[in-house]
Protein backbone atom coordinates (compact mmCIF):
# COMPACT_ATOMS: atom_id res chain seq x y z
CA UNK A 1 0.00 0.00 0.00
CA UNK A 2 2.82 2.29 0.79
CA UNK A 3 4.36 1.75 -2.61
CA UNK A 4 1.01 2.46 -4.18
CA UNK A 5 0.85 5.76 -2.41
CA UNK A 6 4.35 6.66 -3.63
CA UNK A 7 3.94 5.57 -7.33
CA UNK A 8 1.23 8.13 -8.30
CA UNK A 9 3.39 10.83 -6.94
CA UNK A 10 6.30 9.83 -9.24
CA UNK A 11 4.09 9.54 -12.27
CA UNK A 12 2.64 12.91 -11.48
CA UNK A 13 6.08 14.37 -11.24
CA UNK A 14 6.95 12.78 -14.56
CA UNK A 15 3.87 14.26 -16.13
CA UNK A 16 4.63 17.66 -14.75
CA UNK A 17 8.14 17.34 -16.00
CA UNK A 18 7.03 16.50 -19.50
CA UNK A 19 4.57 19.32 -19.41
CA UNK A 20 7.28 21.73 -18.40
CA UNK A 21 9.53 20.51 -21.16
CA UNK A 22 6.71 20.76 -23.66
CA UNK A 23 5.88 24.29 -22.62
CA UNK A 24 9.50 25.28 -22.83
CA UNK A 25 9.71 23.81 -26.31
CA UNK A 26 6.53 25.53 -27.41
CA UNK A 27 7.72 28.78 -25.97
CA UNK A 28 10.94 28.46 -27.88
CA UNK A 29 9.05 27.64 -31.04
CA UNK A 30 6.81 30.60 -30.47
CA UNK A 31 9.82 32.81 -30.01
CA UNK A 32 11.25 31.42 -33.21
CA UNK A 33 7.95 32.16 -34.99
CA UNK A 34 8.22 35.74 -34.01
CA UNK A 35 11.57 36.13 -35.69
CA UNK A 36 10.79 34.30 -38.92
CA UNK A 37 11.97 36.31 -41.89
CA UNK A 38 9.25 38.05 -43.88
CA UNK A 39 7.91 36.35 -47.02
CA UNK A 40 7.60 38.36 -50.18
CA UNK A 41 4.45 37.65 -52.21
CA UNK A 42 4.83 38.43 -55.90
CA UNK A 43 2.20 38.63 -58.67
CA UNK A 44 -1.21 40.36 -58.74
CA UNK A 45 -4.55 39.12 -57.44
CA UNK A 46 -6.28 37.06 -60.15
CA UNK A 47 -9.20 38.62 -62.02
CA UNK A 48 -12.48 36.75 -61.97
CA UNK A 49 -12.85 34.73 -65.16
CA UNK A 50 -15.76 33.53 -67.24
CA UNK A 51 -17.39 30.43 -65.77
CA UNK A 52 -20.58 28.43 -66.14
CA UNK A 53 -22.13 25.67 -64.07
CA UNK A 54 -21.18 22.19 -65.28
CA UNK A 55 -24.35 20.75 -63.74
CA UNK A 56 -26.55 23.22 -65.57
CA UNK A 57 -24.81 22.52 -68.84
CA UNK A 58 -25.36 18.81 -68.26
CA UNK A 59 -29.06 19.53 -67.75
CA UNK A 60 -28.97 21.25 -71.11
CA UNK A 61 -27.41 18.13 -72.59
CA UNK A 62 -30.14 16.02 -71.00
CA UNK A 63 -32.78 18.24 -72.59
CA UNK A 64 -31.03 17.91 -75.95
CA UNK A 65 -31.30 14.13 -75.71
CA UNK A 66 -34.95 14.26 -74.68
CA UNK A 67 -35.89 16.68 -77.46
CA UNK A 68 -33.49 15.52 -80.13
CA UNK A 69 -36.40 15.03 -82.55
CA UNK A 70 -36.36 18.82 -83.10
CA UNK A 71 -32.98 18.37 -84.81
CA UNK A 72 -32.63 14.62 -85.41
CA UNK A 73 -29.44 14.74 -87.44
CA UNK A 74 -27.62 17.39 -85.43
CA UNK A 75 -25.03 17.15 -82.69
CA UNK A 76 -24.77 19.40 -79.66
CA UNK A 77 -21.84 21.70 -79.12
CA UNK A 78 -21.38 24.85 -77.09
CA UNK A 79 -20.03 28.03 -78.57
CA UNK A 80 -18.00 30.98 -77.34
CA UNK A 81 -18.45 34.43 -78.83
CA UNK A 82 -16.84 37.75 -77.97
CA UNK A 83 -18.63 40.13 -75.66
CA UNK A 84 -16.02 42.87 -75.62
CA UNK A 85 -14.17 44.39 -78.55
CA UNK A 86 -10.79 43.47 -77.10
CA UNK A 87 -11.63 39.86 -76.22
CA UNK A 88 -8.96 37.54 -77.61
CA UNK A 89 -10.94 34.75 -79.26
CA UNK A 90 -7.93 32.53 -79.88
CA UNK A 91 -9.14 30.24 -77.11
CA UNK A 92 -7.45 26.86 -77.30
CA UNK A 93 -9.17 25.16 -74.41
CA UNK A 94 -11.83 25.23 -71.73
CA UNK A 95 -11.30 23.91 -68.21
CA UNK A 96 -13.68 21.81 -66.13
CA UNK A 97 -12.68 21.89 -62.48
CA UNK A 98 -13.99 21.05 -59.04
CA UNK A 99 -12.55 20.01 -55.70
CA UNK A 100 -10.82 16.88 -56.99
CA UNK A 101 -11.40 17.05 -60.75
CA UNK A 102 -9.56 19.16 -63.27
CA UNK A 103 -9.42 18.55 -66.99
CA UNK A 104 -9.33 20.62 -70.16
CA UNK A 105 -11.31 20.43 -73.38
CA UNK A 106 -10.17 21.60 -76.80
CA UNK A 107 -12.00 24.51 -78.43
CA UNK A 108 -12.30 24.34 -82.22
CA UNK A 109 -11.36 27.20 -84.52
CA UNK A 110 -15.03 28.14 -84.80
CA UNK A 111 -15.20 28.65 -81.04
CA UNK A 112 -17.21 25.50 -80.33
CA UNK A 113 -16.52 22.66 -77.96
CA UNK A 114 -18.19 19.44 -76.84
CA UNK A 115 -18.78 18.78 -73.16
CA UNK A 116 -18.29 15.20 -71.94
CA UNK A 117 -20.14 13.67 -69.04
CA UNK A 118 -18.03 13.18 -65.91
CA UNK A 119 -19.78 11.75 -62.87
CA UNK A 120 -17.37 13.08 -60.29
CA UNK A 121 -17.30 16.56 -61.79
CA UNK A 122 -21.06 16.54 -61.68
CA UNK A 123 -21.14 15.32 -58.09
CA UNK A 124 -18.69 18.03 -57.05
CA UNK A 125 -20.60 20.80 -58.85
CA UNK A 126 -17.75 21.57 -61.19
CA UNK A 127 -17.31 24.83 -63.10
CA UNK A 128 -16.68 25.17 -66.82
CA UNK A 129 -14.22 28.00 -67.23
CA UNK A 130 -12.19 29.90 -69.73
CA UNK A 131 -9.23 32.05 -68.85
CA UNK A 132 -10.87 35.15 -70.23
CA UNK A 133 -11.98 37.81 -67.76
CA UNK A 134 -15.54 37.99 -66.46
CA UNK A 135 -18.16 39.20 -68.94
CA UNK A 136 -15.79 39.13 -71.88
CA UNK A 137 -17.46 36.14 -73.52
CA UNK A 138 -20.95 35.30 -74.68
CA UNK A 139 -21.95 31.62 -74.51
CA UNK A 140 -24.38 29.93 -76.83
CA UNK A 141 -25.42 26.48 -77.95
CA UNK A 142 -24.55 25.29 -81.43
CA UNK A 143 -26.86 22.71 -83.02
CA UNK A 144 -26.49 22.28 -86.76
CA UNK A 145 -28.06 19.83 -89.13
CA UNK A 146 -25.26 18.80 -91.50
CA UNK A 147 -25.41 19.38 -95.23
CA UNK A 148 -27.06 22.80 -95.28
CA UNK A 149 -25.44 25.74 -97.08
CA UNK A 150 -23.27 27.92 -94.86
CA UNK A 151 -25.85 30.74 -94.84
CA UNK A 152 -28.83 28.53 -94.02
CA UNK A 153 -29.98 27.34 -90.62
CA UNK A 154 -32.83 25.02 -89.81
CA UNK A 155 -35.59 26.36 -87.55
CA UNK A 156 -35.88 23.17 -85.51
CA UNK A 157 -32.14 23.35 -84.77
CA UNK A 158 -32.55 26.92 -83.57
CA UNK A 159 -35.59 26.09 -81.47
CA UNK A 160 -33.53 23.43 -79.74
CA UNK A 161 -30.60 25.84 -79.36
CA UNK A 162 -32.85 28.22 -77.46
CA UNK A 163 -34.24 25.52 -75.19
CA UNK A 164 -30.87 23.96 -74.45
CA UNK A 165 -29.31 27.39 -73.98
CA UNK A 166 -31.90 28.44 -71.42
CA UNK A 167 -31.73 25.09 -69.59
CA UNK A 168 -27.93 25.29 -69.53
CA UNK A 169 -28.00 28.70 -67.86
CA UNK A 170 -25.80 30.21 -70.53
CA UNK A 171 -27.60 33.52 -70.68
CA UNK A 172 -27.06 35.47 -67.49
CA UNK A 173 -25.29 38.45 -66.10
CA UNK A 174 -23.14 36.57 -63.65
CA UNK A 175 -23.12 37.55 -60.00
CA UNK A 176 -24.82 40.93 -60.24
CA UNK A 177 -28.26 41.47 -58.74
CA UNK A 178 -29.62 41.81 -62.26
CA UNK A 179 -28.10 38.48 -63.15
CA UNK A 180 -29.52 36.84 -60.07
CA UNK A 181 -33.00 37.99 -61.00
CA UNK A 182 -32.53 36.85 -64.59
CA UNK A 183 -31.81 33.37 -63.38
CA UNK A 184 -35.40 33.16 -62.13
CA UNK A 185 -36.47 33.14 -65.79
CA UNK A 186 -33.88 30.64 -67.03
CA UNK A 187 -36.45 28.25 -68.43
CA UNK A 188 -36.66 26.52 -71.80
CA UNK A 189 -40.41 27.25 -71.79
CA UNK A 190 -39.52 30.83 -72.66
CA UNK A 191 -38.55 29.54 -76.10
CA UNK A 192 -42.12 28.40 -76.76
CA UNK A 193 -43.33 32.02 -76.91
CA UNK A 194 -44.39 33.08 -80.37
CA UNK A 195 -41.58 35.63 -80.56
CA UNK A 196 -39.18 35.24 -77.67
CA UNK A 197 -36.40 37.79 -77.39
CA UNK A 198 -33.68 35.16 -77.62
CA UNK A 199 -30.76 36.46 -79.64
CA UNK A 200 -29.16 34.29 -82.28
CA UNK A 201 -25.88 35.43 -83.81
CA UNK A 202 -24.95 35.00 -87.46
CA UNK A 203 -21.36 34.48 -88.53
CA UNK A 204 -21.17 37.92 -90.16
CA UNK A 205 -23.14 41.21 -90.16
CA UNK A 206 -26.66 40.64 -91.47
CA UNK A 207 -28.82 42.44 -93.96
CA UNK A 208 -31.80 40.11 -94.12
CA UNK A 209 -33.16 36.91 -92.59
CA UNK A 210 -35.83 35.01 -94.52
CA UNK A 211 -37.91 32.06 -93.39
CA UNK A 212 -38.63 29.61 -96.20
CA UNK A 213 -40.95 26.62 -96.19
CA UNK A 214 -42.34 25.29 -99.41
CA UNK A 215 -43.65 28.24 -101.40
CA UNK A 216 -43.87 30.47 -98.40
CA UNK A 217 -41.12 33.07 -97.95
CA UNK A 218 -41.15 35.77 -95.32
CA UNK A 219 -38.41 38.13 -94.22
CA UNK A 220 -38.07 39.09 -90.61
CA UNK A 221 -39.27 42.62 -89.85
CA UNK A 222 -36.39 45.00 -89.27
CA UNK A 223 -37.06 45.22 -85.54
CA UNK A 224 -36.17 41.52 -85.26
CA UNK A 225 -32.66 42.28 -86.43
CA UNK A 226 -29.87 44.09 -84.61
CA UNK A 227 -31.42 43.63 -81.15
CA UNK A 228 -34.21 46.00 -82.10
CA UNK A 229 -31.74 48.83 -82.61
CA UNK A 230 -33.86 50.42 -85.34
CA UNK A 231 -36.35 51.53 -82.68
CA UNK A 232 -33.89 52.23 -79.89
CA UNK A 233 -31.72 55.32 -80.44
CA UNK A 234 -30.17 54.85 -76.99
CA UNK A 235 -29.18 51.23 -77.51
CA UNK A 236 -25.51 52.10 -77.08
CA UNK A 237 -26.25 53.07 -73.48
CA UNK A 238 -27.84 49.67 -72.77
CA UNK A 239 -25.37 47.48 -74.62
CA UNK A 240 -23.05 46.78 -71.66
CA UNK A 241 -25.87 44.76 -70.11
CA UNK A 242 -26.49 42.79 -73.29
CA UNK A 243 -24.58 39.71 -74.33
CA UNK A 244 -25.03 41.10 -77.85
CA UNK A 245 -22.75 43.97 -76.87
CA UNK A 246 -20.34 43.64 -79.80
CA UNK A 247 -22.55 41.44 -81.97
CA UNK A 248 -25.46 43.77 -82.69
CA UNK A 249 -25.07 43.67 -86.46
CA UNK A 250 -25.08 39.84 -86.33
CA UNK A 251 -28.13 39.53 -84.08
CA UNK A 252 -31.53 38.19 -85.06
CA UNK A 253 -34.64 36.87 -83.34
CA UNK A 254 -37.06 34.23 -84.61
CA UNK A 255 -40.73 33.31 -84.14
CA UNK A 256 -39.71 30.16 -82.31
CA UNK A 257 -43.12 29.46 -80.87
CA UNK A 258 -45.07 30.08 -84.07
CA UNK A 259 -46.53 26.69 -85.11
CA UNK A 260 -47.10 28.08 -88.59
CA UNK A 261 -43.39 27.55 -89.26
CA UNK A 262 -42.45 23.85 -89.09
CA UNK A 263 -39.13 22.63 -87.71
CA UNK A 264 -37.68 22.03 -91.16
CA UNK A 265 -38.21 25.67 -92.15
CA UNK A 266 -35.03 27.08 -93.67
CA UNK A 267 -33.69 30.25 -92.12
CA UNK A 268 -31.76 31.96 -94.90
CA UNK A 269 -29.21 34.55 -93.84
CA UNK A 270 -28.17 37.34 -96.18
CA UNK A 271 -25.08 39.20 -95.12
CA UNK A 272 -24.15 42.83 -95.56
CA UNK A 273 -21.05 41.82 -97.49
CA UNK A 274 -22.63 38.99 -99.49
CA UNK A 275 -23.58 38.96 -103.14
CA UNK A 276 -27.24 39.62 -103.95
Amino acid sequence: MRSHAIAPCRSTLRRVGWLLLASLWLGAASAQDKVLPGVAVTGSASEPTVEKSYRKMLRGMDLFEREHTLAPQAELRFKLLPRKRDTNMAIAQIEVYSRTVDFTLPVAADGTFALPRHAKAQAEDARVASDRRLRSLTWRVDIRTPGLPANVRRLGDLRLECRVGMESGLVSEGTSLVGAIAKVFDSPDYCRRKEPRYYFFAERPLFNVTLVHGNRRESLPIQRLYAGAIDEPNLARDLPSCDCEVLVERTYELPLGDPGWPDDTRVELEYMDGAE
Binding site: I181, I222, A227, D231, D238, E270
Partner: protein
Protein backbone atom coordinates in the same frame (compact mmCIF):
# COMPACT_ATOMS: atom_id res chain seq x y z
CA UNK B 1 -35.86 45.68 -46.14
CA UNK B 2 -37.80 42.71 -44.78
CA UNK B 3 -37.59 39.37 -46.56
CA UNK B 4 -41.16 39.68 -47.79
CA UNK B 5 -40.66 43.19 -49.15
CA UNK B 6 -37.48 42.04 -50.82
CA UNK B 7 -39.41 39.27 -52.57
CA UNK B 8 -42.09 41.67 -53.75
CA UNK B 9 -39.55 44.18 -54.97
CA UNK B 10 -37.59 41.45 -56.69
CA UNK B 11 -40.73 40.21 -58.42
CA UNK B 12 -41.62 43.68 -59.67
CA UNK B 13 -38.15 44.33 -60.94
CA UNK B 14 -38.02 40.90 -62.52
CA UNK B 15 -41.33 41.43 -64.24
CA UNK B 16 -40.49 44.88 -65.49
CA UNK B 17 -37.06 43.89 -66.66
CA UNK B 18 -37.81 40.41 -67.97
CA UNK B 19 -37.44 41.47 -71.57
CA UNK B 20 -34.20 43.20 -70.79
CA UNK B 21 -32.75 40.28 -68.90
CA UNK B 22 -33.85 37.29 -70.89
CA UNK B 23 -31.26 36.23 -73.40
CA UNK B 24 -29.34 39.42 -72.86
CA UNK B 25 -31.99 41.52 -74.50
CA UNK B 26 -31.07 45.14 -74.10
CA UNK B 27 -33.95 46.77 -75.87
CA UNK B 28 -37.29 46.55 -74.10
CA UNK B 29 -38.55 49.66 -75.84
CA UNK B 30 -38.45 48.05 -79.27
CA UNK B 31 -40.57 45.16 -78.05
CA UNK B 32 -43.33 47.62 -77.12
CA UNK B 33 -42.86 50.05 -80.05
CA UNK B 34 -46.18 51.01 -81.62
CA UNK B 35 -46.97 49.72 -85.11
CA UNK B 36 -46.08 52.00 -88.00
CA UNK B 37 -49.44 52.91 -89.55
CA UNK B 38 -48.70 56.13 -91.43
CA UNK B 39 -47.63 56.41 -95.07
CA UNK B 40 -44.43 54.65 -95.99
CA UNK B 41 -42.74 57.69 -97.53
CA UNK B 42 -42.96 61.44 -97.24
CA UNK B 43 -44.94 61.45 -100.49
CA UNK B 44 -47.88 59.15 -99.70
CA UNK B 45 -48.38 58.55 -103.41
CA UNK B 46 -44.88 57.12 -103.86
CA UNK B 47 -45.05 53.39 -104.43
CA UNK B 48 -42.67 50.73 -103.23
CA UNK B 49 -41.71 49.96 -106.80
CA UNK B 50 -40.82 53.61 -107.38
CA UNK B 51 -38.72 53.66 -104.23
CA UNK B 52 -36.90 50.50 -105.31
CA UNK B 53 -36.10 52.15 -108.63
CA UNK B 54 -34.65 55.18 -106.88
CA UNK B 55 -32.24 53.20 -104.66
CA UNK B 56 -29.64 52.23 -107.25
CA UNK B 57 -26.83 50.02 -106.00
CA UNK B 58 -23.44 51.64 -106.27
CA UNK B 59 -24.92 54.98 -107.20
CA UNK B 60 -27.61 56.48 -104.95
CA UNK B 61 -26.38 58.24 -101.83
CA UNK B 62 -27.94 58.76 -98.43
CA UNK B 63 -28.70 62.36 -99.22
CA UNK B 64 -30.32 61.32 -102.51
CA UNK B 65 -32.73 58.96 -100.77
CA UNK B 66 -33.42 61.35 -97.94
CA UNK B 67 -34.50 63.88 -100.51
CA UNK B 68 -36.51 61.41 -102.60
CA UNK B 69 -38.21 59.34 -99.91
CA UNK B 70 -38.07 61.39 -96.73
CA UNK B 71 -36.63 60.54 -93.33
CA UNK B 72 -36.17 56.94 -92.22
CA UNK B 73 -35.31 55.10 -89.04
CA UNK B 74 -31.64 54.18 -89.15
CA UNK B 75 -28.86 52.25 -87.46
CA UNK B 76 -25.17 52.93 -88.00
CA UNK B 77 -22.67 50.19 -87.26
CA UNK B 78 -18.98 50.17 -86.51
CA UNK B 79 -17.22 49.95 -89.81
CA UNK B 80 -19.52 52.58 -91.30
CA UNK B 81 -22.39 50.48 -92.68
CA UNK B 82 -25.83 51.99 -92.18
CA UNK B 83 -29.29 50.47 -92.44
CA UNK B 84 -32.22 52.78 -93.21
CA UNK B 85 -35.82 51.58 -92.89
CA UNK B 86 -39.00 53.24 -94.08
CA UNK B 87 -42.01 51.60 -92.45
CA UNK B 88 -45.69 52.25 -92.83
CA UNK B 89 -48.66 51.47 -95.03
CA UNK B 90 -48.39 51.02 -98.77
CA UNK B 91 -50.99 50.01 -101.34
CA UNK B 92 -50.16 46.39 -100.45
CA UNK B 93 -50.66 46.93 -96.72
CA UNK B 94 -48.14 47.32 -93.90
CA UNK B 95 -44.71 47.37 -95.49
CA UNK B 96 -41.10 48.21 -94.98
CA UNK B 97 -38.39 49.30 -97.39
CA UNK B 98 -34.86 48.73 -96.13
CA UNK B 99 -31.64 50.03 -97.66
CA UNK B 100 -28.05 49.22 -96.74
CA UNK B 101 -25.47 51.94 -97.26
CA UNK B 102 -21.78 51.17 -97.32
CA UNK B 103 -19.13 53.17 -95.49
CA UNK B 104 -18.91 55.31 -98.64
CA UNK B 105 -22.53 56.38 -98.13
CA UNK B 106 -23.73 54.68 -101.32
CA UNK B 107 -26.46 52.06 -101.65
CA UNK B 108 -25.19 48.48 -101.38
CA UNK B 109 -28.45 46.54 -101.02
CA UNK B 110 -32.17 47.05 -100.70
CA UNK B 111 -35.11 44.90 -99.79
CA UNK B 112 -38.87 45.19 -99.42
CA UNK B 113 -41.06 43.46 -96.93
CA UNK B 114 -44.83 43.38 -97.31
CA UNK B 115 -46.65 42.15 -94.29
CA UNK B 116 -47.11 43.24 -90.72
CA UNK B 117 -44.96 46.25 -89.90
CA UNK B 118 -45.82 45.86 -86.24
CA UNK B 119 -43.51 44.20 -83.81
CA UNK B 120 -44.48 40.95 -82.05
Amino acid sequence: MTHRRALVARGWIAGAASCLLLAGCANPLAFFAPPKEGPLFRDPALTLQAAEARAVRGQTTRDDLLGELGPAASVRFEGGFEVWAWRGRSAQGPSEFVVLFGPDGVVRKQRTRIGSAAPG
